[in-house]
Amino acid sequence: MAEAIARGKLIPPYLLSTPALLLYCALLLTPMLMTFLLSFNSFDLYTGIKPDYSLANYLEVIQDKYFHVIFLRTFGMALVVTLICALLGAPEAYILNRMANPWKSLFLLAVLGPLLISVVVRTLGWALLFGKEGAINQTLMGLGLVDEPVKLIFTSTGVVIALVHVLVPFMVISVWASLQKLDPATERAGLSLGASQFTVLRRVVVPQVMPGVLSGSLIVFALTASAFATPAILGGRRLKVVATTAYDEYLNTLNWPLGAAIAILLLVANVIIITSYNRVIEKKYAEAFG
């Protein structure tokens, strides 16, 4: 009977996928292709975009030190943010998982809830905290730890702190998901066989949640590398990242071809990093379990 449905009576899968396929071809494939072509055009301040094709925009980005700094800053920040998120998010997920209800669900809500709140709002919170008169400096000076206000706004430290806040829930949820699959009996078995709490953590828990940490890292890295709102608000003009640079080329300088080339490079870098990361991890796990 089930086969009969699958073969004859149900609408063929291609027909069911047609609306989505049409939409994606018209609104994803075409715009991406147009942007790719646009990135080879040239731009003139007086006449605008010229329909000729060359690698000039890419060469400009690859040769200009100004762009090197921006790309290095972006991916360096992504690396640091990912590391901090892993170091904070993974233990927090583990601690949350060991709590009893109602605390467990309450704190899970507190950690994951901010994901539903606009990034603009969360970044505004950090802008308020970072100010000269902000809570952080008031506390530090009140405790006598510093004599004059610490500069956090318009610094990469500030941007990194805010990005960790914005993205760490993704790490917590990723590790949380892999903790749900972990059998608590394995931990108890380790303890009953005389292992210390630390040994159980290191030899039993960490290896089992590692896939969660790794997939969480990938999400955090990719999202940091393409973050816009947080670096734009807290970094300003002086601390440009790739996304804000593309924005400026498009909407301020109006040099769309150069902006398109920057965007394409960001996309390519992201895709290369994601796929090679996946490949390395798959290989590692194939060795471990193969």
Partner: protein, 265 residues
């Protein structure tokens, strides 16, 4: 369930303070009675909440975001349901490629989508229109909608459908009377996640929105880049209050972790 030690609890407390501090600060500053950013040391005032209502720009942007999120989430779901049925229930050549293609917007930085849509809409004459904005949002939220619907279709038993077919029900009747009611939780969850993602989207929208289709996040972003005042804090606080209420309802209905796992991976 073993207990957390004191170090774990200290770490946990610090973590929660870190997560909530910026939101709490926004909410406190929102109640200031002064004309500049400050803590409400001299009593709480609703002055800046009243100021939101006197600011039609923000109200219009809020309504635009609401309308946009409802329209684009509904379109995304209408397209995701048949696509999910195809992917979850059939083995056909190109199935893996279709799935990857439908989830691909997750891999593309929003700034890249933004520049691409801007170019595309300018070329085809849709720049600055609501329909262009809505379609671009559909692309961005499709993967979230698709994933939750797909999860609910994948776990579905075929027995009831087989019974209906053997009793002579047509394809459409089977879908409407059996399949659809069974996957309603997935559809509703997908719609909510799609709605929230659309409502909060900034990076792509900043390129595509025109003065007549400006959304709330774009309006707020533009405001913050010019000035940070108590008005923007009170608006943010209002958004936080609404989101928290929404969040508690969602958590009761679905479990926030289940809904958001779809967003992360």
């Amino acid at each position: 369930m073993s207990k957390n030690g004191p170090i774990a609890l200290i770490f946990h407390t610090a973590f929660i303070v870190f997560m909530l501090a910026p939101l709490v600060v926004v909410c406190l500053v929102a109640f200031t009675s002064k004309g500049y950013i400050s803590m409400p040391t001299e009593g709480f005032s609703l002055r800046w909440f009243r100021a939101i209502l006197e600011n039609p720009d923000f109200i219009d942007a809020f309504l635009m975001s609401l309308y946009l999120a409802i329209v684009s989430a509904s379109i995304a779901l209408a397209i995701s349901v048949p696509a999910s049925l195809a992917i979850a229930r059939h083995r056909f050549p190109g199935r893996a490629a279709f799935t990857a293609f439908f989830l691909s917007p997750l891999m593309i930085p929003h700034v890249v989508l933004g520049v691409s849509f801007l170019r595309f809409f300018t070329e085809v004459g849709l720049s600055g229109t609501f329909i262009g904005l809505a379609l671009s949002h559909v692309i961005i939220i499709m993967p979230y909608a698709l994933r939750l619907v797909l999860a609910s279709v994948t776990g579905l038993s075929r027995d009831a459908e087989s019974a209906a077919v053997s009793l002579g029900a047509s394809n459409w009747t089977v879908f409407r009377r059996i399949t659809l009611p069974l996957i309603v939780p997935g559809i509703a969850g997908g719609w909510v996640l799609a709605f929230i993602t659309s409502f909060d989207e900034l990076t792509m929208t900043v390129f595509v929105a025109s003065p007549s289709t400006i959304t709330l996040p774009v309006r707020m972003y533009n405001h913050i880049t010019e000035t940070i005042d108590p008005l923007i804090a009170s608006l943010s606080a209002a958004l936080i209050f609404v989101t928290v209420i929404f969040m508690v309802i969602l958590d009761r209905l679905y479990g926030l972790d289940k809904l958001l796992v779809g967003r992360g991976n």
